[in-house]
Symmetry: D2
Subunit: 199 residues, 4 copies
């Protein structure tokens, strides 16, 4: 099972990057899976602009990310809530990726995580984050984990130290891996891709 993981934030040391690393640790320790981790900072892309796409083309950074997405069975993304909604970084990425044909996202499985200083842990943002991925044909796992009060949940070493949150991350990783592992597509990818490419 190949899993691509990244954070929907750019800042070095963002809580979302720490959380997705935590998911990576759980994948390795509990399932022996080495996630393919990408830092979006290494793939700079501009705000989506159809003029850029038509005159210059889809940015190379997006094409490279599309290859890493295509190469994976599943994605794990930890992403912040910005103004009650999806991170603009992540929405920009999805809007660019959706211009690559055939769709690299269609038919993939996705697990969403968040962490924030608030009491809700950014869960509101996660619900909005589901939508563009689902519109691109992604099977977004129904369960999600939002770590609240992140400034105390993570230790100074950047690792999740709150036991309750650790347990939730472990449990959701187990359930997600089991779900993806249970899936043995035969005729599926072609069908799904064709649905996703419909206007």
């Amino acid at each position: 099972m190949k899993i691509l993981s990244f954070a929907g934030a750019l800042r070095a040391g963002s809580i979302s990057k720490q959380l997705v690393q935590e998911a990576g640790r759980a994948l390795l320790e509990r399932h022996g899976i080495v996630a393919d981790y990408a830092d979006l900072k290494d793939y700079p892309f501009p705000v989506y602009d159809t003029d850029i796409e038509q005159n210059i083309g889809i940015p190379d950074s997006i094409l490279q990310l599309a290859l890493r997405v295509r190469d994976a069975n599943a994605l794990i993304i930890a992403s912040p809530e910005y103004n009650g909604g999806i991170s603009s970084v992540l929405k920009t990425l999805v809007d660019w990726l959706s211009r690559v044909k055939p769709s690299p996202l269609a038919g993939k499985f996705l697990l969403l995580l968040s962490a924030s200083p608030s009491g809700s842990g950014g869960v509101l943002g996660l619900w909005h984050t589901r939508v563009p991925f689902e519109a691109c044909g992604v099977h977004v796992f129904p369960h999600m984990v939002a770590v609240p009060r992140a400034q105390t949940a993570f230790g100074q070493d950047g690792q999740l130290s709150d036991e309750k949150s650790q347990k939730k991350v472990n449990e959701i990783i187990d359930a997600f891996v089991a779900h993806v592992a249970a899936h043995h597509p035969i005729h599926l990818p072609k069908k799904e891709a064709s649905l996703a490419n419909q206007p």
Copy 2:
């Protein structure tokens, strides 16, 4: 593969009931699957009220529907858009079903369809309809079909006569059946159920 199908509307002759029958025809003709069709009119339940639940108990109609849900691998629901959101009938059903323990919905696959006289076909309602099911641990299929201008898309015999819409229904039924068929859970149900029962 056992599929339970029903409409998120009560009215006899509702377009949603016609559409879910259309899905049933596609299941039978294309995949030899006889869907277990339920008419919510045969399962009358009151508006959700915690007092009823605590003093009288969960209504028998809900317990019977819960059994039919539990017995299925997957659900197909056609549901109208009411005031830009989920049908209140369907939300009431989900709120009642979510009180049955263990959760009958957790881990099920769900395909959502809609039809409406409008140009959008009720797709806005479908996006809101996803949420409570996903909150209950349901794997809602990312692709959905919303049939626009339903008054002309369906013939006087109540069958879908618009060819473009028929083709879309056929394709999504094929993709959904392939997706559910590809899934062979081993350890999953227990994990998922435990996630779904967390507060």
Copy 3:
């Protein structure tokens, strides 16, 4: 200024009923406004069913509530989050009210509150609750208050004892009253009603 207040829950002693009473206290003490409080338990209505509407008519309870809505400038509703979305009780009410012509809801101002035992206070449900009201032409106030950890935020007397939450309720009531008071419509109601009645 006439304000109608109610909870989107039926249970006697529900936290939402306590919270909306708290809003009533703030309205009275800070602005001298006596809210018109309605308990939905006194207005029993069935699950929405077009057959009932066409064969029997809109229930009297709904028509009576429609009169109270029409008589108010603004509404204050405290409502629980059920399965990540709007309370089915409240959605059922909106679906019934939307069948009354001309629309009693169009052009009204609405403040939404919630309280829940969770860390998010039910804020996710509030965001879904906005939608059907906005679809009916209601001006939903952008700010909302979601009281987290409600079992400790409210004292045994049913009053909000958590100071931080009290302060938030007071501030939002002040801002909402100021906003509604600042509005002096001249040509508006007719225009808005006609927009709301469009398909």
Copy 4:
């Protein structure tokens, strides 16, 4: 009344730019209001990145737009639906603007429009577009207009030629102007700004 108008898309000749110009024509012809039109292409900004904000500062383009927003009573934005959600351009703008203190958006009125080749006219995107603005304290007008089948609704001169859509734009502009004109705030701005600045 000062109204700032712009499109949530960058492409020269985008349908959203044509639609917002149409709104400008209606404002001028029907109400004598000259909207302050901004083209986001003239205000280039990068994808939101906290590192940029902390090391370099909020981009000048954003600060200039913030001034134009602050100077207006109301905004009119036509914005496309990308992947079932908000345009990433517009979400990026909101995320940057939300970092300017005090909030330029809090307390403003906003009318949302869209146009798309689809039968739904992009109305799904508009509903997601409301959220981050509302989270920033914006009073988003409940009514919206989504122009379907935009390729035929607009003539070759870039003007809206479909009569039904023209009528809808005229009516919503009338209703929005009446609503904003009816608002005479006294104590409001300070209160609302303080609410918007709360975490």
